[in-house]
Symmetry: C2
């Protein structure tokens, strides 16, 4: 048994340490990452993948905590990937919310991993997808992906989910307005958390009126519910709605989405593998330095030089 | 004379309409974009490129307006590229600040272009670089690139600048803290704007203490000045500091930075050209659809499939 073989064996036997080691390999893009993912792929596709996203302060981590509690009551195993935004300068993740969630890292059918992500956001979507596959292969019934924010990068990360829960809280109205008609493109279920606060009803109405102007994908009209995550109120109803959405997906929507997601992934994988080949070629290829010199002297332009190098690259 | 030949002629003759048409071609990535940039490249490299960035509310656009006024007094021609963040859903740029700056679009030695950017942020850095080249080739003495924010994407965009001015305002202390030691990596000159407000001195001290802990590139210790952009106070001093930084660059720093910037650009150009070839290949290549089907059926994994396609791609 190679190191990867025994790691795969450990993951399939639901060993937390093996899962943790595998995630580290994928997160750091170690050379054995590709082999590991190739071996795990046939064992994936069983978990229900739930995305939770929303602006800072909407109470995502508290809600995730309640979902874990509820799913555990139902004897379901749960994996959580929490994706943190990272300062491009210090490389450190913003903690805070994370610490609260650590309470639930019991190992008792629950596996939580906070991804402190260096590097670019493009790669983050791929890494998240691959980490979700590890948790899926490890037999988790439910995999939750939590991201902060509702920008372009977060939408890319959350696209791995089958059902996306978009979370808001009263008083964060600007965030809703900024999304406009795009709301229905990313959210399958809407939650107004901290519903005991003033203006909760107004927030529900704000989301409602925006949803009415947006395109609906298929026949699913995203429902809006109110929760108080800190007390657990509304968690059961949320799980019911997630289940209903999962039933809806079975009407052919799921396969269509999965096909689209595989197409996107394949193209991204090809680009990433090309970049690796490019880097290897540039290390061997002395032409690169000489071309940079020619560009600096204005003997050639960068656009023509790029085409020249591209034609010379050997793959494989 | 082809259409592109006459456009290049117009740009070199400083014709605003030709500049505007060329920017539209580059922004939309029209097929003639590559030829246009190839022809313009030998005419670039004369302008002083100044980046202005900082959090929302720091008064960037007002300061840019004052810089334009001051440079015009000195009989210098000025080009401005204002890069807006764009909602990934609506495709519309956040205006507001832009409108205030429009006052200066006189055509009298000044050319201002607001880039309302659809598409991904990776491409935005390339487009900005290419638009700056058009303004540079058109004989502008000064080209200002203004971006909102100080995140990873903005740093990518602003990297085209020779001198980067990092703007803050009293009361935006959190923004400074979030940057931490990375401050000195992006800012060549620091400005505390709205210096008539309470706590301006505290903001200066905050920046100072962070700069003291960061790495300094070479012998340049980024200076910090206070401005009141709304009245123009401090603008002359800022221009002096920008000039001093430009003198410092001449001590070999400039060529080193330019070389690094060309290397990065070349690699990005190669990747972009590869993506174009990939798209063209996938349109012809029936294998793609069949591979996606095999992945869905778990007969093959996406990682192996990507490698298979990459080996089959023909370039040129």
């Amino acid at each position: 048994l190679t190191k990867i073989d025994s790691l795969v064996k450990g993951i399939l036997e639901r060993d937390d340490l093996s899962i943790s080691k595998a995630i580290t390999i994928v997160e750091n893009d170690f050379p054995e990452s590709n082999d590991l993912l190739i071996q795990l792929y046939p064992h994936t596709g069983k978990a229900a993948i739930i995305g939770i996203t929303g602006p800072a302060g909407s109470g995502k981590s508290t809600l995730v905590g309640q979902l874990i509690r509820e799913y555990r009551k139902m004897k379901k195993t749960v994996g959580v990937v929490a994706v943190d935004p990272t300062s491009p300068f210090t490389g450190g993740a913003f903690l805070g919310d994370r610490i609260r969630m650590q309470d639930y890292v019991t190992g008792n059918g629950v596996f939580i991993r906070s991804m402190a992500t260096r590097g670019n956001l493009g790669g983050l979507a791929k890494t998240t997808k691959d980490v979700v596959r590890i948790l899926d292969a490890s037999g988790k019934d439910i995999v939750i992906v939590e991201t902060v924010g509702v920008g372009q990068a977060e939408v890319g990360i959350i696209s791995v989910a089958h059902t996306t829960v978009l979370l808001f809280a009263p008083g964060l109205g600007d965030e809703i307005q900024a999304l406009k008609a795009g709301l229905s493109e990313i959210g399958d279920v809407f939650v107004v958390n901290k519903a005991d606060r003033e203006n909760a009803e107004k927030t529900v109405n704000d989301i409602n009126s925006i949803l009415n102007t947006g395109d609906i994908d298929g026949t699913w009209r995203p429902p809006i519910i109110k929760t108080i995550a800190i007390t657990g109120e509304g968690t059961e109803e949320l799980i019911n709605l997630i289940d209903q959405h999962r039933e809806y997906l079975k009407t052919g929507v799921f396969e269509r989405r999965l096909r689209k997601s595989i197409e996107t992934e394949l193209i991204e994988e090809i680009k990433q593998k090309f970049t690796l080949h490019l880097t290897n070629n540039l290390k061997r290829e002395v032409d690169f330095k000489s071309l940079v010199n020619q560009i600096l002297k204005k003997e050639i332009d960068p656009y023509t030089a790029a085409e020249l190098i591209l034609r010379k690259i050997t793959i494989g």
